[in-house]
Symmetry: C2
Subunit: 478 residues, 2 copies
């Protein structure tokens, strides 16, 4: 009998079904080095498969049976076959980004088999412009999305000539390397205040935050009662009513993925001219794009949409969810102002709602802050519990998160990384997830949706682009 | 609650595990038409996904729960998503047949998720020579291998200009079309006696034969007792002792696939010069190739290897396993003569063993013939039962079958089919399966093995080629 799963990890297995696969992913785009021969990608795959010493996380699979009394345990995969996990894919012609996004959607819409370790890494060639891509997939019971992005970043190099970097699944010589804060955490300067509201937390802190949700999965604790009261009661920081939209329906297991990035400098300039943060500008972009999208579908509600936005905040006294630096993780419910026709008014509404939410978060009790944390980081686990408490629908329409990435160029085996886009988890009632990540002067948007519930998801990319221009015009810098 | 699975289909679900996926497959190679534009394969995929009226077989998935009292039932997939089943794949560079076979091995080594209908169809582009391929995968609980090959053939056309042929999953206007005997059944002439010993049986006859194995799965009936006695006792037609080889070990879920074809005329000429059938020549090729292969690995046993070879034979009185034409299906245990150094001696040994086996089969009682049938067609179900009866190992070393295909050129949407190769099911103790199929003047070999148990499987292709030359020399026609 293997090691038991911690309650949070087990909760993700219990919450998973055919319509809600519980894995996160990432798409990374690379330009191969100038001297790359025709065997470049094949050699990379060979090297990736030749990893001899894998971290236990990547060798174990969940198992339960009568002998485990029905409990999930981690068991080493006695027949671990790295060729199953490390795959060499190619795109059909014409090899545009569209074909790449189609592939990502298909891969992200397929569950990981529980009989094997819960990860895949695909090296994708066949982009007409000669770039290559990786699509990585990890089950949420192993790592949450932020920790997964960090793990992927930890194997990138700042040195174009570095070769032989250990792959994400290699056992590390330096323990805790993947928990080491990324460079961008230390050098927030260049981005100004843009990133100050974002979830920049070491993986171990997220883990302990998630453990709260895990306890909640076991029994209706005070956490759930707090959340439940909050959702019913406008006076608490947790309390919001959201209109029901087409994004808030039961989902299927089919996924669509859309991704694009914009220069951080354009977003920063909008922020400077309007006194807002980059995060506010990101949210205002989403707001305007969603307004156009829902209007086209004749489905824009009169009331504004609300986004659940994970944030970090200084909180010396925060107990469980804090690390040495005193950061805590919470979630702010942001009214997006989709009911407002003017881009500048939407941006102002987002800024005000964000400030209000962060103030409320700062004044919450520890228990309330933890409750927010749990709601923010583990909605898949917490939302069903809220329903058990008689809360008919989630207190928000979608999840928008923003995970900072490296602020300078990174390389992988001499290939320059030119883009990085997270894939996240749509849920019943929350059919769209927008996760952004900054990298090397650009802000990458990853939109993951249920293909059937969220029609024509790709159009949101064009609407996001329209909204950047509209915001530039509105603040007078275009 | 849906329709219950018949006992045979259920037996395949019960027998399946991570190491023994119970699906069959086929690789088909095509030359696109001269006027094919860059969108040719993408258009094919679009059309394939646009099928509106699917046969129920392709819309249902197996389900069991407390409400079905633990029994498997077929249930329509309420969220059927054809994009999950019909896939557009591409090969990584350099796009050789090797990359195609690697892809087939990987796809064949992945189980079908029981929560969805149990089939996939992959359209593969990216072969450097401009050809395209399809890899089809169907669970054995839907169709056995012969019926699956027939289904795939039924959608091919003899007319290069025909377009819009219904795809295998389309509901047929003409009921039973897939059960219609193929052209090659009616025109055995050109192949001479070469195909007379092969399993050419309509799908419904196979179905009733398989039902016997299904009953056996439920309880140790007289069938299993007959088999068990036969295996212990040299006097019965079922009785053989086989040496234990590296092919007869516990397998893993990893698959390797190798495929190649040879001109039928070369095999026919060897048969003419030696008084043997094409089927004998196929078996002698396998014998010589296995001898070389095992010798290289220092693993050739002193005793000859035995192959289980499914055959059909005229048997007016055969009850359950017969169709109107009076054909019955059985299996012959063929001593391959791998202990003999001379190619001509091996060919003669195969011919004698085959004749002897067919004579024995003809003189068996109906119950014995049925037992052979079950053993031949459903080893996955019957072998575990034999073990329950104290039979330590299978009475043969590998399975070699030969399924006739079309004897003239076939087309699919204007693309000329230039090759067809079956992928089959390795089992614990039977790590290698060789299935051949003839098409348009060539004999295609499909070798499916456990990648870990059968090392360097691809080398067998070279050894098969060597053996054709050796046989030509031995019978004096080279």
């Amino acid at each position: 009998m293997g090691a038991p799963l911690d309650p949070t990890a087990a909760a993700f297995l219990f919450a998973e079904n055919r319509n809600m696969p519980m894995h996160v992913g990432a798409l990374q785009l690379f330009e191969p080095p100038a001297d790359a021969g025709p065997e470049y990608t094949a050699d990379l795959v060979r090297r990736a498969r030749a990893t001899e010493d894998l971290a236990p996380l990547f060798l174990q699979h969940p198992h339960r049976s009568l002998t485990t009394a029905g409990q999930w345990t981690w068991r080493p995969d006695a027949q671990f076959d790295i060729e199953h996990h490390v795959r060499h894919d190619a795109l059909p012609r014409p090899g545009r980004v569209r074909e790449l996004l189609d592939l990502c959607g298909r891969l992200h819409g397929t569950r990981l088999a529980l009989e094997r370790p819960l990860w895949e890494w695909h090296l994708v060639e066949g982009l007409a412009d000669g770039r290559m891509a990786t699509y990585s997939k990890m089950h949420h019971s192993l790592l949450d999305g932020v920790a997964a992005m960090r793990l992927l970043q930890s194997v990138l190099s700042e040195d174009p000539d570095e070769r032989g970097t250990p792959l994400p699944w290699a056992r590390r010589d330096r323990p805790g390397r993947s928990d080491r804060p990324g460079r961008s955490d230390d050098t927030d300067g260049p981005h100004g205040s843009g990133h100050s509201g974002l979830a920049v937390v070491p993986a171990h802190a997220l883990r302990s935050a998630l453990a709260v949700a895990g306890e909640a999965a076991g029994m209706p604790t005070s956490l759930v009662r707090t959340l439940s009261r909050g959702v019913r009661n406008q006076t608490s920081a947790v309390s919001f009513y959201s209109p029901r939209t087409l994004l808030n329906r039961t989902i299927t297991g089919s996924r669509r993925f859309a991704a694009q990035d914009w220069p951080l400098e354009r977003l920063r300039a909008i922020g400077r001219a309007s006194g807002t943060t980059i995060n506010d500008v990101v949210l205002a972009m989403c707001s305007g794009a969603l307004r156009t999208y829902l209007t086209e579908l004749h489905a824009l509600p009169d009331q504004t949409l609300t986004a659940m936005v994970p944030v970090s905040f200084r909180r010396a006294e925060a107990g469980t969810a804090s690390d040495a630096g005193g950061n805590a993780v919470g979630a702010v419910m942001v009214r997006l102002g989709t009911d407002l026709g003017d881009p500048a008014a939407r941006l102002a509404a987002v800024r005000d709602s964000m400030l209000e939410g962060k103030d409320a978060l700062g004044s919450m009790s520890n228990a309330q802050a933890l409750a927010m944390t749990a709601l923010g980081l583990a909605p898949a686990v917490v939302l069903p519990l809220l329903r058990l408490q008689g809360v008919a629908r989630p207190p928000f329409n979608l999840i928008i998160s923003n995970v900072p990435g490296p602020d300078s160029t990174r390389w992988f085996e001499g290939a320059r990384m030119v883009g990085m886009y997270p894939l996240s988890i749509p849920l019943h009632g929350i059919a769209l997830n927008i996760t952004c990540t900054s990298y090397d002067g650009r802000m990458g948007f990853g939109l993951t949706g249920c293909r059937r519930t969220v029609p024509r998801l790709q159009r949101l990319l064009g609407f996001l682009d329209d909204e950047v221009r509209a915001l530039e015009a509105a603040v007078g810098i275009s």
